[in-house]
Amino acid sequence: MTSILDEPLPPLVSALERPRWSCALGGALAAVGALPRTIPVMHAGPGCASNFTWMQNGSGGLATGGYCSGLAMPGSNLQDSEVVFGGHERLGEELANAIKIMDGDLYFVLTGCVPEVIGDDVDAVVAEYANDGKPVVFASTAGFKGNSYFGYEQVLKTLFKSVVEKGAPKQNDLVNVWGVPPTQDVFWRGNLQGVARLLQLLGFRANYFFGSGADLDLIKKSAGARLNIVLSDLYGIEAAELFKELHGVDFISTPLPFGAAATEKFLRTVGAALKVSGEAVEKIIDAEGRRHYEYLEGLLEVFNDMEAQRYAIVIGDANYAFATADFLAEDLGFLPDLIAVTDDLTAEKREILLTKRSARVAGRYGEKSQVVFIADGAHLTEAVDDTWRAESWKKYHPAKRPAIVVGSSLDRGLAAALGAAHLTVAFPVSNRAVLNRGYTGYDGGLTLAEDVISSFIAAR
């Protein structure tokens, strides 16, 4: 089980404006809320739950649902007295009642800042129930230890350590998929299911842990999977290493496959890793591609007529910034001029992204394409000024219009200032209701194309 002393220290953040994430507890709660038949038990001070329910979910495509989440979830609601005397008794009481009243197959304790500052021994409380045969697990998710992505990773690690059973029988047609943090990836449901469909085309069943169609029994047996696929260069990688260490399953990391071009690469990479014959993979690509372009053709006339091939500013996290830019460039022929990655990343992680992604960025999008790392929303406009406005000042070379800003709801002002269209895909997305929409795979590409084109005509 996780001990707070085991965890590596996260990078230090001083202060920043308009961050595009929540805290570790927020990210963890979004993930646990998305687990099948799982009851989150918040061990935290008052305010955290409602903050996540309205702020976080409201910014994540408005969906507050989940098996037990939002304001329905149990919490210890720590007060002054628990701070002074310790919150372990209160947690024990809350847990006992949650098990009695809430109908769940897994009870997932998450800690906020307060109990970790005062040093509550949550492990001991949880172990008491676990030793009693109750399905109770715990992830250490104090907000001061990291942001949403860290919280998501903590939940994965707890699942792999305490829920996934050791030595499950091999299932050769099973692959595990993660790397898409619920809510932080606003389109997580659709994205996971889109990838599951692709794996199905290759002849595999996907265990994707979160959202509709995920299954707790399958999660418990997931150590029998043939391969783990992390749909991210960064999120869930540490957890994948832990999975490998604990259960001996290898992993590969691939970017989120938005649209036809990325999906082809995905199918080839994953097909090879799963030893599907190249011939079979090409056959799938052929058939799916034909169907895909038949649909896309429908927008061809309007695409030409609108001069819809645009310069783009793409703003998103490590998953979205590159997946979206790739799609815009390779599927729609846009020119992603500026790619702003908004995570708060260590130099090491930036390096990983740059080595993995920049070759493509530079090679395909033209020399002007630039990747910047800007966790602070306040500095984003400066970067745009540097690479963009400077250009468009030139009287006879207003070369970079028309344009589109593909980012989050926080970038509305930027788009307006540039006179550009605006599409929200990256957290926070507070102007769209999102249920099963997703951008992965061939069909996801069609959906993203619809969204991009629609953003140009939103005012009609």
Binding site: S81, V83, V84, F85, G86, G119
Partner: protein
């Protein structure tokens, strides 16, 4: 205009004699005619035991936990000689946050305006030995206590703790925190002990308020659950506490101490080690060595 209440905090290394000294000062102050309250800021909540016949009183935090709120008469108990006794209380060892407990308890006293309502002259805060977190610094922050007295023996670790405390006082001194009234040298019997604490006071630019000898009278009184003032009012030890109390009652100007750096402190201790060795080997007569 309300009179100024003299608020004093007693700090020092664990087990050095803070509670014993505080209780005797409180009892002596009461005997001198002052209205005194002693506030134990330690989860052990044993600060006021010798003022209350060796018994424990219900603590602010326990009462708060049980009832959700507290009234003055639930947390203030009258002890020997009319000293008002309060124990902040706190969690069991190893759980919760005792520092936060001190903050909460001190806030309660403030909110209830007990000092004003009881017309207190002098408040003594007896604070847990090692100032391990911000909570235990509360009595000397935020303009609660104005004067700090530190209890120390001539033992190096006790002096080390006192020096650390001085660093804490210096840190808060520019923001309205408490200043140092001086050192109460406890358990001073051997001549060299006196010389050591004198030298420490000189080095850190502070003063010794009183030399309190180690005395079996203290032990006897403690075993009866009493202060020396109550159990042996005519003893020489009682006289020492009475004199100390009088000095504290009259004390007005506290100062910012000048703590040594860790390196200086070690050098200083090293030089004393040499001197003591010479005394032991008879190379130097005890008197000349100091």
């Amino acid at each position: 205009m309300s009179k100024e209440i003299k608020q004093i905090a007693i700090y020092g290394k664990g087990g050095i004699g803070k509670s014993t000294t505080s209780s005797n000062i409180s009892a002596a102050l009461a005997k001198l005619g002052y209205k005194v309250m002693q506030v134990g800021c330690d989860p052990k909540s044993d600060s006021t035991n010798t003022l209350r016949g060796g018994t424990y009183i219900p603590t602010v935090l326990d009462t708060l936990r049980a009832k959700g709120k507290v009234t003055a008469d639930e947390i203030i108990f009258t002890g020997a000689g009319g000293v008002y006794c309060v124990e902040a209380g706190g969690p069991a060892p190893g759980v919760g946050c005792a520092g936060r407990g001190i903050i909460t308890a001190v806030e309660q006293l403030k909110q209830l305006r007990v000092f004003e309502n009881l017309d207190i002259d002098i408040v003594l805060y007896d604070v847990l030995g090692d100032v391990v977190c911000g909570g235990f610094a509360v009595p000397i922050r935020e303009g609660i206590a104005k004067h700090v007295f530190t209890v120390t023996s001539s033992d190096f670790m006790a002096i080390y703790a006192a020096n650390n405390l001085f660093a804490g006082i210096k840190k808060y001194s520019s923001t309205g925190g408490a200043l140092l009234g001086g050192i109460i040298a406890n358990s001073i019997n051997a001549p060299y002990s006196r010389a050591i604490v004198d030298d420490f006071a000189a080095r850190t630019q502070t003063q010794i308020v009183e030399y309190v000898p180690r005395s079996v009278t203290v032990t006897q009184a403690e075993l009866q659950g009493k202060t020396v003032i109550e159990a042996a009012p005519d003893s020489a030890q009682a006289q020492v506490y009475l004199e100390l109390a009088e000095k504290i009652a009259k004390h007005t100007d506290s100062k910012t101490p000048n703590p040594m750096s860790v390196e200086e402190l070690h050098q200083w201790a090293g030089s004393w080690a040499e001197k003591l060795l010479k005394i032991e080997t008879g190379e130097v007569a005890p008197k000349d060595g100091i």
